[in-house]
Structure formats: structure tokens, C-alpha cells
Subunit: 446 residues, 2 copies
């Protein structure tokens, strides 16, 4: 008698918060005091000696409990499912989660519920890659185009991207893939750094960190802007003086402006040759981004970290609203939806430069850019992954940056697993850190 096939036996969830607001790390025009957090889940199975699947939503503090509740609400869709089946076809699970007719009302496909779906789907991909003994980028790059195209949910996309389009792009992506893989393993994938540019940093710290970034091999840095124009002009001048004319200097307004203000403010910074203006206005404002892009060229327009799903990315591309697509590994519905977005970007010929930072976003999204290079876009020209040097020490297989490049991960999985001792210490509000914190004891949230 053969043993029963392995099943998912538990979906453990954790509310993990780091007290980053105390150092003003991560401060920008809309997010003055983030406490970088993760609504984290672990898929456990009854496979003998089998791995776990890890996934999470990144948040910035308050509300992380709501995000955990949303992941909990998906538990019944995952418990008891065949591990072989969900790992062989995460796309079916994605469709089941997105298609839950009652939960769908809470979105559809946006905000808290959709990020929860992304966390669960990403945990399945982590599990699948571990079981295949490959880092996720390699699992994806080794996969057949037909199977990959089957992982995409084309609902609401077919006026811009059909299954035949996707298959054509993925077949084209097979050409020359071996040479690109060798190059990736040798050189890595280009990164840029935001570590110098937080709004809360003074000019001395900006000068020191911008200089360090160039010395470390980065060819692009990014400054947060949007709180005060005079400050921004001064900070851009300081940064440009430090890095010289050949390093790209991107600026990021974190949704601070209305359309007309975005145009005026960006033009006021044009003398410092900004490479892109990121999130100039609401991530929901497709037509607004298109108007801004027309007005501020040659400054490029970038957005995506808060773009809720593939349907909005589709329109940003249809409307000619973007020069740069900024995917986020944990905002949309996981790997499957990001696969759709990478294919949309390729169809429209727009480069993908992921958002990262936060908690574990660098760890996740590097896999998607490496897959994009190997099997979709075929190039790293004008492609960079954001890098922020926060909180990597809490991960079992943290990113490795070498000479301004992300090194290709070698450990099987999606690099998503956090250290057990970090989970325990930073669990809110009961973990050792928060339990010892006077503000927590007074009942104040993180």
C-alpha cells in the first residue's frame, strides 16, 4: 500500500513588526514613521521531511493585524490540498482564491484581501521551488513556455495581452537563455539604492551615504522628495554634487502630489537631471500619470509599488502613462499576477525596475527580475532592482549585493523564510521585543 499523498496540514500566521520608526529609516513624504512589518505565513505539510512554504505581506505597522486576519480568512482554501497538485499548478490555487465569490466582494483584487492572496500564493511558490531543489528564478526560467502561460490569469487582460501573445513572448525568451544564465551567475542583476535618500536624513548623512553608494558600485541612487520644494532642491543639489553627472539620480514623491503640482515640482527639479520621477500622484490615477508623463519628458515616469493589480498595470501601459514598470513582489496576487505584469511590460516594451526594501521585498523580487531577464525581456539594459539595506539579517538566505548587483540566489525556494528567532522576538505584541517596550505596555500600537 502506497502512502497517502502529502497534504497541507497547517497555515500558521504571525504578526511581525520591527521598530524602524525610531531611526527614521524608511521615512518619506507620505510615510513619516513606518514600522516595517510582515503579515507572515507558513504552510506546513505532512510530507515526510518535506519543506515548508513561507510567504508574507509587507506593511508599515498599524493594520498588520488586519492583514493577518485576511490571510487567516483564506486558510480553508489551502488546508487539506494536495501538495503535489498546488506545487504543480499554483495558477489554479490563485484562481480559486481570487474567485472566492464571497471574499471577492472585499476587493475585488485589491487592497488587504488581494495582498493576502499574494502572500499565500507566494508561499506555495516557495514550497514548490524548495521541493524542486531550485531557487525560484531558476524554477521559472527552466519551465516550459506553455506551462508558464497557463499560470497567468488572463481575465480582464485579453484586450491587451492574449494567451497567444504570452506564449509568443515566452517562446522568444527561450532564445539565448543559456548565455544569459551564465552571465547572471557571473555578474548578478543591477541594483540601485535608496538607502541614502530618506527624507528624515540630514545633509551630512545624505552626503556620506550617497558617496558610499557610488563607492559600493551602484550606478543609480534615489532620493525621496515631495514634502518641501526648497528642501528637495537643496538635497538634489547635494546628491548630484556627490555622485557626479554619470550616476543616475531618481526621485520619488510617494504619491504626494495632484497632477498639476506633480508637473510643476518635477520641472523645478529638472536641472538636477532626475532619471525618473516615481509615484508622482495617486497610484490609481492612470490618466493623471499619462498627463504628467507628457508634461515632464524627458524625465521618465515610474510607478507600481502601490498599483493594485494587473488590470491597472494594463491600463497604465495602454495609456502610455509609464516609462518604468515597478512591480512589487507582495502587493499583487503573488508570482502568478507578477508573471502577467512582466508579460504586459514586455508586450508594450517598457522596462521593469522592481520596488523593494521594506521587509523581505528585496529577497523576493530579485527572483522575478532574474526570471524576466532570462526568459522574458532578455536584457538588463535600463533595468535595476531597488535595494535598501534594512532588516536582511532577519532572513535565512538574505540577498547578497556585490559591486552594485544582486547575486543570483542559489538556495532552493523564494528566499522568503525569516529566522525563527526573529519571528519570535518581533511578534506583536507578545514577542520579547514588544513585551519589553514601554509604549506597548501602555497599549500604544507599534
Amino acid at each position: 500500500m502506497s502512502p497517502s499523498p502529502a497534504r497541507v496540514t497547517a497555515v500558521d500566521t504571525h504578526d511581525i513588526r520591527f521598530p524602524t520608526s525610531r531611526e527614521l529609516d524608511g521615512s518619506d513624504a507620505m510615510n513619516p514613521d513606518p514600522d516595517y512589518s510582515a503579515a507572515y505565513l507558513v504552510l506546513r505539510t505532512d510530507a515526510a521531511d518535506g519543506p515548508e512554504g513561507h510567504g508574507f505581506t509587507f506593511t508599515i505597522g498599524r493594520g498588520n493585524d488586519v492583514q493577518v486576519a485576511a490571510i487567516d480568512a483564506l486558510r480553508d482554501h489551502v488546508l487539506g490540498r494536495s501538495v503535489d497538485e498546488i506545487c504543480a499548478d499554483p495558477g489554479t490555487l490563485f484562481r480559486d482564491l481570487v474567485g472566492d465569490s464571497q471574499l471577492r466582494w472585499l476587493g475585488p483584487e485589491k487592497g488587504v484581501m488581494h495582498m493576502a492572496i499574494g502572500a499565500v500564493v507566494n508561499a506555495v511558490w516557495d514550497l514548490a521551488a524548495k521541493r524542486a531543489g531550485k531557487p525560484l528564478w531558476r524554477l521559472l526560467a527552466d519551465a516550459e513556455p506553455e506551462w508558464l502561460a497557463g499560470q497567468v490569469d488572463f481575465r480582464y487582460l485579453s484586450d491587451a495581452l492574449t494567451p497567444a501573445d504570452a506564449l509568443g513572448l515566452l517562446r522568444r525568451g527561450r532564445q539565448g537563455i543559456e548565455a544569459r544564465r551564465a552571465r547572471l551567475l557571473e555578474r548578478g542583476f543591477p541594483a540601485y539604492t535608496t538607502s541614502a535618500g530618506w527624507l528624515g536624513y540630514d545633509d551630512e548623512k545624505l552626503t556620506r551615504l550617497a558617496g558610499q553608494a557610488v563607492a559600493d558600485g551602484f550606478r543609480q541612487i534615489k532620493l525621496k522628495v515631495g514634502a518641501d520644494l526648497d528642501d528637495d532642491i537643496r538635497r538634489c543639489r547635494v546628491a548630484r554634487a556627490v555622485v557626479g553627472p554619470d550616476i543616475r539620480l531618481a526621485v520619488d514623491a510617494n504619491q504626494r502630489w495632484d497632477v498639476d503640482e506633480a508637473i510643476r515640482w518635477t520641472k523645478a527639479l529638472a536641472e538636477f537631471d532626475p532619471y525618473w520621477i516615481e509615484e508622482p500622484t495617486s497610484p490609481d490615477d492612470i490618466l493623471g500619470h499619462a498627463a504628467i508623463r507628457r508634461a515632464v519628458a524627458p524625465v521618465r515616469v515610474a510607478t507600481g509599488e502601490h498599483v493594485q493589480n494587473r488590470i491597472v498595470f494594463k491600463q497604465l501601459l495602454q495609456a502610455g502613462a509609464l516609462d518604468i514598470v515597478q512591480i512589487d513582489a507582495a502587493r499583487v496576487g503573488g508570482v502568478n499576477e507578477n508573471l502577467a505584469i512582466l508579460l504586459l511590460a514586455a508586450k508594450f516594451g517598457v522596462p521593469v525596475c522592481p520596488h523593494a526594501g521594506g521587509v523581505g521585498l528585496c529577497e523576493l523580487v530579485q527572483h522575478l527580475s532574474m526570471f524576466d531577464y532570462l526568459a522574458v525581456s532578455g536584457t538588463t539594459d535600463d533595468r535595476v532592482i531597488e535595494y535598501v539595506d534594512h532588516l536582511h539579517e532577519h532572513f535565512l538566505t538574505p540577498v547578497v549585493i556585490r559591486d552594485g548587483h544582486y547575486t543570483a540566489p542559489t538556495a532552493p525556494g523564494f528566499s522568503a523564510a525569516m529566522r525563527p528567532e526573529s519571528i519570535a522576538r518581533y511578534t506583536f505584541p507578545g514577542g520579547a521585543f514588544w513585551a519589553a517596550d514601554p509604549d506597548t505596555r501602555k497599549g500604544r500600537a507599534a
Copy 2:
């Protein structure tokens, strides 16, 4: 010594679910088995003999607990606030809630967190109207244009609607308001009914209910479509035969289609002279709605019940994507954001025909349409409020429909308060109904 000013002392929340899926009430192409639910809150104060403020988010079952958790996450913004201050200026509270820099990450301004904000804001308006001794429609219609314009958050709107635009529209709305108020009190506001048209109903039930609707004085009915074209053709034929050529027959696809399919399907129903096609595709697809509208004219395009915020409504209007704006009282950020949407619709000259039904949506949204008639649009031409005859018995001041019209409410407040015995009986999972239900006891969600 004068007494301390009254404060908000509690935000009580309730997970209330009705077992509507057992009758296929509310069944449509995307929502086959909804259990109409409310994530409900009560603002309590220490005002002597003072009223409470009631508000809620409508959901369709699973996930109602997530929605309650989201309302709970807003509690600290409301507790301890001056009742006089929040009632005199709910707009400041709206901005505080939307602007919580950590919670904002979970949207921004969309999905679970934004609906929670809407529930809290609406509860404040309920409290304000009760304290003023007026039904909400009257509180709004009596207010000064300057104060009303100050209740709008123009962020991300200024490229389409400025404060000066809003003030101009509201000042224009004062002209002739007395005559309109008399007419409203005499006649009410036109309604249409969806009660006949649920997908789960057979032709006999459709025939009977459509005939009853006309007999009851409704001049428009609506059918759900989108699951099967042959069925839809048959059901439209049956309905049109019953109601004759002079009653408007709207159809509603509940987001079932991609763009091209929406165009084909709508054209296939054109012989039955549909008045509008509602939610032909994703509520996020502004450009898709515009393409559909161009292709299916003279059939009108309507959407809004799932449109997440004012920014998406702005673009639907800018893109010429809509003939009908369907506001929902509990999807966006409450009265303040709906005020912005009513003003946008007026600016673009597009009629507002609210979504209602669910739990208490009719009770709420009638106030907004009556205000729109009195003080913004100035007309009921081509304006109708959806009416569905579900679950009104659970409300203390249910809607009153007379000869196909909503009668203007007279009780102070926003008509939001549910009967205490209904709250107790349908609280999930511990209320008497659910505790006695075998499926609940087996651990299956509603």
C-alpha cells in the same frame, strides 16, 4: 462649573450575517451564493441622553470578520474625540482616517481599509444628523455651500474638480431648492427594482415578479445577465414581454466579461432595448469601460458599486466611460467621498443612479440621492435609486417605497440603525440563528 464636553467613549463592532444564500436571493453571475452581511459599528458617547452613531460595511459573507477587524483598527482615531467637533466637521475625521500613514499602506483608499473608513465616517454623519434632529438628506440640503465644499477632500481631484468648481455647483444648487423639497416630500425619489431579476430565479418567478414590479409602480426593472447567453436572451425576452416597451429594462453583468466579450454580449441583447449595461467588466478598467461604451451605444454604460474611490470615478468621467454613475453608500469613504463623487458627476453632467440592496444600502443611499436632487443636480430626470426588497425588516427606520418611489425619511439620522434583536440573533457565529445552525456547528463559515 460647566460639564465636560461630550466625547466618544466606545466603538462597538458586530459581525452580522444573514443566511440569504439559502434562497438564491442576490444571486448573479459573479456572486452565486451571497450571505448578505454587515460589519457594523456603534459609536457611543458620554453625552447625557445623547444618541449613538451607527454605520456599517456591507459584505456578502466570508471575510465579514476581516472587515470588522479593519473597523477595529480605526478605533484609536475616534475614541475620546469631541462629539461636537466631529459632528461639526466630519471631513477632518475623514482626512485623519485616510491619512493614517501606516494604515494607508493597506490601500491606499481602496478595499477593506477604505470601506472601514466609510463605515466609521457614515456613523459620524448618523450621529451628527440625529443630534441636529434631521434626516441626513435634510442636514446636507440645509447646509451652506461653503461648509459642504469644505467637507470634500480634493486630493487627487484638482485636475478635474477644484474647490471653486464645487462651490459654484453647490451655490447653483441653492436655486429653487424650496420647490424641490416640497416636490420630494410629496412624491419621493424614483426607484427601480432588481427583485425580479436574480439569476437563480426561474422564468415563472421572473414573470410573476416583473409583472408585480410594474403593478407596484416601478418604471424600470433590472435583470442579472452574464452566465449564459442563451439564458439571458430568453430571460430578457420573457421580461420584455411582461413589462412591455415603455418600462426601462436594465441588465447587469456584475463584472463577468472581458472588454470584447462585453461588447459582443451586450450587442446580442440589443433587440430587447436594454436601458443600460451595468458592470460589463472589471470596475478597475476605466479604459475598458470607455471602449465598451463607444461600441455598444445607444445602450448606456453604468458602473460604480465596486468603484473603489473618487479617483477612479474621476477618471471614468474624464475618459467618457460612463453614462450613469452608480454610487454606493458603503463602498467608498462615506458621505464625504460620496459628496465628492456627486459633485464630479454634476461637473461632467452625468446622472447618478445609486447601487443599493444588500443590507441597509437602500436605507443609506436614499439620503444621498435626495440631497443630490435638492442641492446638486436639481433634477430627478433619468435618476433612479435601485431598490431590492431584502432585509429591511431588520432596520429601525426601514425605507418606505410608495408607487415606485422612495419616500423621504423623516426620522433624524442616516437610517442606519439595525434592530438590537436582529443584531443579537444574526451575530456570527455566536448569535442564536448561527449557534443553532448545523453547518456553523460543523465549523463551516456562512
